[in-house]
């Protein structure tokens, strides 16, 4: 059972696919980050991905780095992550995943992290620097607490590794497109399309594509072949530039046309 997988499947059978929206907790402060997340859901985001600010975020581009660094400087603590999840899930029904680098979880205690996440109503974790090979403790804790676990799949992953990611993941598999990093958009699109079809062959039933998606056109394009589209930097940039009204508007623009 996975609330995240259910929402994605429901959006899929309704004719489109899911919009997954990322924002960091604590940026620009805890209260505003909670309001901004709620605004995403009110404006068409189906699944929330809340980033836990971390000192050494190797998967994040400059926009998100800047935001999470500011959150840390403003005094972000891990417990704020659980507070935010609890506050958001009390107000909206969209499932909330935390996106966290691995060391904060290790230091908090993997079991304690899983318990506190469950108590706050969090659906699970996206772990960008934890591959299933190193995830024994988290696999056990997420099974015990019935939380989702989203592992990443890359165009460079072998078929065996894609199968491993599919087997280990619950909720969805995070397909890393190379969008925004490599050149022409048609190439990029081919890379993501190919990865998603390889994941399906590896048994995936719920696959979301992320990294570099920033426009409504790109979301629609991705949803032609994937079950969900993940948008991060574009939302963070909107929040940075224009606060909650801007991030709400950005979410509405991304989800326009997805709901018929």
């Amino acid at each position: 059972m996975s609330a995240v997988a259910d929402v994605i499947a429901a959006r899929k059978s309704a004719g489109s696919g899911a919009l997954v929206g990322y924002l960091p907790v604590g940026y620009p402060n805890l209260a505003t980050s909670i309001e901004a997340a709620v605004a995403l859901v009110e404006n068409g985001v189906d699944v929330l991905e809340l980033g836990v600010p971390y000192s050494d975020p190797v998967m994040d581009g400059p926009v998100i780095q800047r935001a999470t660094q500011e959150a840390l400087a403003a005094g972000f603590r891990l417990r704020h992550g659980f507070e935010a999840v609890a506050a958001i899930t009390a107000r909206v029904s969209a499932p909330v995943l935390l996106m966290t680098y691995w060391n904060p979880v290790v230091q908090y205690g993997v079991d304690r992290f899983a318990d506190d996440l469950a108590a706050a109503g969090g659906a699970g974790l996206i772990t960008p620097d934890l591959v299933p090979d190193e995830a024994h403790a988290w696999l056990a804790a997420s099974d015990r607490t019935d939380r989702d676990r989203v592992f990443l799949a890359a165009p460079s992953s072998t078929d065996a590794r894609l199968e491993q990611a599919v087997r280990a993941s619950r909720g969805f598999v995070y397909a890393v497109s190379t969008m925004g990093i490599t050149g022409a958009r048609s190439d990029v699109d081919t890379a993501a399309r190919t990865l998603v079809s390889r994941l399906r062959m590896a048994g995936a039933t719920s696959t979301c594509v992320g990294l570099g998606i920033s426009t409504a056109d790109q979301v629609r394009e991705v949803l032609e072949y994937a079950d969900g589209a993940i948008v991060g930097s574009a939302l963070v940039a909107a929040l940075a530039d224009g606060g909650i009204p801007a991030v709400a508007q950005a979410a509405a623009a991304l989800s326009a046309g997805l709901r018929r």
């Binding site: 050494d56 691995w102 904060p104 290790v106 620097d129 090979d133 890359a154 992953s157 890393v176």
Partner: protein
């Protein structure tokens, strides 16, 4: 045999905590390195380069006048400072560049703290005709500006890193991001025994020549193994390089000296094993400086090359089993040792290496005059002249400014044009 340990784990340390996008590159690297290690052609090529380019074997030098300040113990320096480019770093760089060539990579990227690893990487890129990009924290580009100029002269692009603490750890983050994006064409030439497998093992293997040479050289000189082997520890590559050959010699004590900055009990230090605890950073599980939430704490040291809040996993393993001891050395202790070696032996060490010398002075007094201590002199101090000049207040800044305004007439120095 401790020496046979070859990862991915050293006890509970090491592993691969990286984005999935990098796993295939690490697998490819691991396979290429494993093949190269067993290939006599590769080994011959590396040996030839070391003989004709690096300047290996590096000599050992006895330091009797310095030893008077170290309890009269016999002090023997392994002279990695005499290698081409001025430090031990070239050993690893040439090895990895050859592996990168076998992999068909055309672009080398690297992180650097003191600039020594960046200079060595830029050197290898020039030698092999590869493109080179070096990430360096902005704090370090300022305090090691001479090395920035060296890298540029060698054709490398130096990118000052402005995120986080703007030092070595942030340079590694940016290098990892670059690698994720450009993994097809690019080899990330990591400069120490840290990072995800196979880096800790591969980098150690390329440096273990230091200890292998030194072990025989000390035997030839003294007829016995040393009582102790010492080295400074940043990420830990020069220390692993000299320790490795001695790991299974139980009579030889191993000491790694960490940078204690203003003091390991203050909040301005880089004494990772002394003050840190196990966690995950830069792709491996090891000791690191971190707060309660697992956020990395910024390190501090006068030495850019030791200013790193992590340490290689093999050191964490050796520490936990008690095979090696890791002790803190302050900025002031290191700078005193730097001056002392300069005055007593006519050798100006890198500030990094001066930490090993300062530790050795204490150790010599402990072990007494019958002891023999082998010290890894990992680099030379040329790059540190600005820092040392300011620290000892021996830079005649007024004269320097006058020179800039009116350059010295070469004829007044007796130089013919």
């Amino acid at each position: 045999m401790l020496r046979d340990e070859s990862g991915p784990y050293f006890g509970e340390y090491g592993g691969r905590f990286v984005p999935e996008s990098l796993i295939s590159a690490l697998d490819e690297l691991d396979a290429a390195y494993t093949a190269a290690k067993a290939d006599p052609v590769f080994q011959a090529e590396l040996t030839h380069l070391h003989a004709t380019y690096t300047g290996r074997p590096s000599i050992i030098t006895e330091a009797p006048r310095f030893a008077e300040h170290a309890g009269g113990a016999r002090i023997i320096l392994k002279r990695e400072d005499l290698n081409h480019t001025g430090s031990h770093k070239i050993n690893n760089v040439l090895g990895q560049a050859l592996v990168a060539k076998r992999l068909g990579k055309t672009r080398l990227i690297a992180e650097t703290g003191a600039g020594q690893h960046g200079v060595a990487t830029a050197t290898a890129a020039a030698l092999f005709g590869m493109e080179c990009v070096v990430y360096m924290g902005e704090v370090d580009t300022e305090r090691q500006s001479l090395n920035v100029a060296r890298m540029r002269l060698l054709g490398a692009t130096v990118i000052p890193v402005t995120t986080g603490s703007r030092t070595l750890k942030d340079a590694i983050n940016d290098a990892l991001r670059d690698w994720v994006a450009n993994v097809g064409s690019t080899h990330y030439l990591l400069g120490t025994v840290a990072g995800p497998h196979p880096f800790p093992v591969m980098v150690r293997d390329f440096h273990k020549i230091i200890g292998e040479e030194a072990r025989q050289q000390v035997l030839d000189l003294t007829g016995a193994l040393p009582d102790a082997v010492t080295a400074c520890v940043g990420g830990g590559s020069n220390a692993m390089g000299i320790f490795h050959a001695f790991l299974d010699d139980p009579t030889v004590k191993l000491y790694g000296y960490e940078a204690a900055g203003a003091g390991h009990l203050t909040d301005k230090h880089a004494a990772t094993i002394t003050r840190g605890r196990p966690g995950v950073l830069h792709g491996a599980r090891s000791y690191l400086l971190q707060d309660e939430d697992g956020q990395t704490i910024e390190s501090h040291s006068i030495s850019a090359g030791l200013d790193y809040p992590g340490v290689g996993p093999e050191h964490a393993w050796l520490h936990d089993m008690g095979r090696a001891s890791y002790l803190p050395i302050t900025d002031a202790e290191a700078m005193d040792a730097l001056r002392l070696l300069s005055l007593t032996e006519g050798i100006i060490p890198a500030i990094e290496s001066a930490h090993a010398l300062a530790g050795t002075m204490k150790l010599g007094r402990e072990l007494g005059s019958t002891a023999t201590i082998l010290v890894n002199l990992s680099g030379r101090g040329d790059k540190d002249m600005e820092t040392a000049g300011k620290y000892f207040d021996i830079l005649d800044t007024a004269a320097l400014e006058r020179e800039v305004e009116s350059p010295v007439d070469p004829s007044s120095l007796g130089v013919k044009e």
